[in-house]
Subunit: 596 residues, 2 copies
């Protein structure tokens, strides 16, 4: 996902005259410098002087970097707090602070961020020395791809919202149209800038860049918080649907006398507040599009935050020349695995069938109960299989004689933290479901299925995290052959004298032979089968919530238990994290597959 | 506050026969081992075999440690999620999940933690090799002291609660008395165990110990969440006070006819639900004690969590011999500083006066407006002074020619994170106040004072954090003289040839002379003055919320704006963090003072 600075060097914001003369040089690593000067014809005295000078510069740079990070972090913190207090006020005191106030604050932040993004692009394009290095680990293709995918979805969402507002224009103010318009411009430009610049290690105006990045990050975070907590649009749509139902019952009134008993109450209660649509068919399209695309916008904000954070960490970072290229990895090959891909494809096909059935049937206002049963039954079948596969994989990891890679690796640490953090979303939803079901004790099949689904989901997340983390910490076999053998000699223990040592040597040689001819032993083959199966399963489980199936929200059980607003917040907080978790798992599992 | 593992070594949960024979040895550092064997009469072959063997053991230990940490962390996560879902259900759906259910869950967790704590104490006392090392940085005296202080307060709180319940026993069930009783036993034993064992680096049953520690941590965290969100007792007390007021008005009814107009409404509205006290004087004591001690219980849970986390990090850690002793520090001396302590004492005395006035006047049900004005005016006078002092200190840090200490230091990193994290509490409250005041736009003096207070509080937190963090990163002058000089030589730059170098040498020597005779230059003296002033101010600002002044809750402005429950949650979340921040700042400022 990302990478960290190891020994960064940054020109101080206002460098002293001495610093200025060596500004270009100071952005190299100290080690590089010393090697360079070792080969130069400098006398020893001057050499040590230079080394000391660079050491000092390096320290000053690090100090300036720390100060810049602290300052920009505090800026973001204050913006987030201010916005958070605004949004909380909007929720708990609707009279004094309205949604409009929050929109105005966010629009101001968006305009500021937009101006900064444009300035950044122009600035880095015009100055040739602005970006000397590009971080190869930052912004991998799947992150940039999902950025564009979710970005376009969010733009569509805003278009649908504008369409919905226009078709209700007779009872809404025209000023409200400006906010989605600003958001569309902001999204398009932000996506374009992040696509182009997500790998940059900027070397000029570092403090200003850090502040700009943090401002943009804070804006995205606030957009996410608002999207998670603000259900006003959903309520509006529900109110209109309810009013439609009433209208329908008024029309039916002539044929059914009993239906009309409540008519006066209904008309006085809801009819006055609800704003009805002018063109029902177009409205239906806008409404459905809006509801389906809503989770993408929260997802988009989260991904933007992650990318901006990595860019922020990379400001003023300098990379050694050898890290510029990717480490040599084996290409993605099947290695004769059969059962894993087959089982995985089976799950994928079954998942697509459930998905299509669900989506077709979900076109009505109420989804029939049997489709919920089908959906949860699919999960209850797939999740234990995945958990068993993960447990088997973890056991095989334990059996393997491969060495643990316990060296410091900040990229991997961040990956592990993101994996664990993203798992919290679905696990949180599952625990809330469990408490709701256990407390109400319903005896229907569907509710027992939901209970089983929640328990299995928690188990699956735990076992999959264990398997991926164990796998990421194994030293991959495709490391350069020579260094691999040397490492092995250093590490393995020749237990009893030379005979045993000879046997080990032979075994090692044969293993190298087997490896080079791609005939895997059973453990490696099993690991590859398991990884492939899990990759396909995770893609299936990613697809369903990502493209609009949210039975957690639609089945009604938890919504009734916790109330609309609470459950809306919990689901909108947890589901995007869940989708992010599946994406991230696939990335981790591909690593495990290639390393096995 | 705490420290981290650097190169820990732990016996695997089920060690192989080879591992068993060297179990005792494996808990030494690898470096120690190699030094030992370098001096032994082993032949070179055997030596390298031993080295390899230990290297392997070390890696296995690290793997087992990682796995144990992951597993126990997941355990705590699941317990916290389950409890969190319970508490949320209690809040949002009072019918299905009651407060009693949450109490039963927490009581079960407390009993489990209690059993584990007793087992741990007995286990480590009976086995002599259970605790080979004690972390000198863990559990400093101020942490253990506040543990005992807040622990006793929480025990008192529970006694008051039991007393309150007993005096209302005619309308409460007796089963409810069991929960405070369990809590008292749990608090006493937990405080005693943590006091005795907070420095332990346990070497036996490491995985079981980790799980036990995490279970206890999760229990404390859930107790904190419940204390922050559950205002039922407060509501009960308020209802009783309201009912008392009504009774009063009934008695007055004979003299005042107009008062009685609302009597039937009052009696029907509140009289039936409210449980009245049997003995009013005793009840008043219980009620006041409960309300005053309530913030201590949340504080206690937070401190327990921090101590347990450090113990968890220290499980199976082995320390090198030289880290066993404290680093040699200069004793705390005044060094002839005058203005800082004087100004600080002035602030302290003024603070104590405001505190006493406020506490005496707060005995009535409503606090007079002028005391709020006094309180906020005191803050508005002190906070800008502190901010200015911090800014001056930061500027002097910038002017100083002392070197930055940029080496990795996990203890300091944790300190910085805690400082920044704890600052969020008060800053959050301040932002919420600002939004509430700006949105309602009142024109009273008191509200404008609160606005100024909130803005200044944010500024003061930011500047103080900058000052402390800058100060902690300076290399202290009281480091051993020889190594200090060597470091300096390595670092400082002799800019132009030997004449300059000579000058620098002279300056260095004179500085060492000045230092050894404790005549400080103006910068160091200023830093010491500023630190002392800030220490005394922070003690003053710590005392006021810690001993029961909570004008944020009592002034009514934000309570009306956000509603009772929301503001209760925000304040109970933020205030304990604020108190913790002041304590922690004092610790950091003492470090800065000694280092300057």
């Amino acid at each position: 996902m990302a990478s960290q600075t190891s020994a960064p060097a940054e020109p101080a914001p206002m460098p002293s005259p001495e610093a200025k003369t060596t500004e270009g040089a100071s952005s190299y690593d100290q080690a590089d410098m010393e090697t360079k000067h070792a080969g130069s014809p400098c006398p020893p005295k001057q050499k040590s002087w230079l080394a000391r000078h660079f050491s000092l510069l390096l320290r000053r740079d690090r100090q300036a970097q720390k100060a810049g990070q602290l300052f920009s972090g505090l800026l973001a913190l204050n913006v987030v707090f201010l916005g958070g207090a605004f949004i909380c006020s909007m929720i708990f005191n609707k009279v004094s602070v309205t949604l409009g106030d929050v929109w105005i604050l966010l629009a101001a932040l968006k305009v500021l961020s937009l101006l900064w993004l444009l300035y950044y692009t122009v600035g880095t394009t015009r100055k040739p020395h602005a970006v000397l290095y590009r971080d190869p680990h930052a912004g991998p293709i799947w992150v940039r791809g999902s950025l564009v995918l979710f970005g376009s979805c969010t733009v569509c969402l805003n278009i649908f919202r504008m369409g919905y507002d226009v078709s209700h224009i007779h009872c809404k103010s025209e000023v409200e149209l400006i906010f989605p318009a600003i958001e569309i411009v902001f999204m398009i430009i932000q996506t374009w800038v992040l696509w182009r610049h997500c790998k940059d290690c900027v070397q000029v105006q570092t403090n200003f860049t850090r502040c700009g990045l943090m401002l943009t990050l804070a804006t995205n975070l606030l957009m996410w918080v608002l999207a998670v907590t603000n259900d006003s649009m959903h309520r509006e749509i529900e109110a209109e649907l309810d009013a439609l139902m009433e209208k329908f019952s008024v029309l039916q009134c002539r044929t059914c006398l009993r239906c009309c008993l409540f008519l006066p109450y209904l008309l006085s209660g809801n009819g006055t507040n609800t704003c009805m649509c002018l063109n029902t068919t177009v409205c239906e399209v806008f409404r459905k599009g809006y509801l389906m695309l809503y989770p993408f916008s929260t997802e988009y904000c989260l991904i933007c935050c992650a990318v901006l954070f990595v860019m922020w960490k990379n400001v003023s970072r300098s990379l050694a020349a050898h890290t510029g290229a990717h480490p040599n990895r084996s290409p993605f090959r099947l290695h004769g695995t059969i059962f894993g891909p087959l089982l995985g494809l089976l799950a994928l096909v079954a998942g697509v069938c459930v998905f299509v059935l669900f989506q077709i049937e979900a076109s009505g206002p109420d989804i029939a109960r049997q489709y919920f049963t089908l959906y949860y039954a699919f999960y209850v079948a797939v999740l234990p299989t995945m958990s068993l596969a993960c447990l088997a994989g973890t056991a095989i990891h334990g059996l393997e004689e491969r060495e643990l890679d316990t060296l410091k690796n900040p990229t991997r640490s961040l990956d592990v933290v993101l994996l664990m953090g993203a798992a919290l979303g679905q696990m949180g939803i599952a625990y809330f479901s469990i408490v709701a079901i256990v407390a109400t004790q319903p005896h229907e099949l569907l509710n027992q299925l939901i209970l089983a689904y929640s328990l299995l989901l928690i188990l699956q997340h735990i076992t999959q995290n264990l398997f991926i983390i164990e796998g990421l910490h194994r030293r991959p076999l495709w490391e350069p052959a020579v260094s691999g053998v040397m490492e092995k000699q250093d590490v393995e223990l020749p237990r009893r004298g030379s005979l045993r040592e000879l046997g080990q040597d032979l075994r090692r040689a044969s293993r190298a032979y087997i490896h080079s001819f791609s005939h895997l032993n059973w453990k490696r083959r099993m690991l590859k089968e398991i990884s492939l199966f899990l990759i396909l399963c995770n893609i299936t489980l990613w697809m369903m919530p990502a493209f609009g199936i949210h039975p957690e929200f639609e089945n009604g059980l938890e919504k009734d238990f916790y109330g609309y607003r609470t459950w809306f917040t919990i689901v909108n907080f947890g589901l995007p994290l869940g989708v992010f978790y599946r994406m991230h798992s696939v990335g981790g599992l591909v690593e495990v597959y290639l390393g096995a």
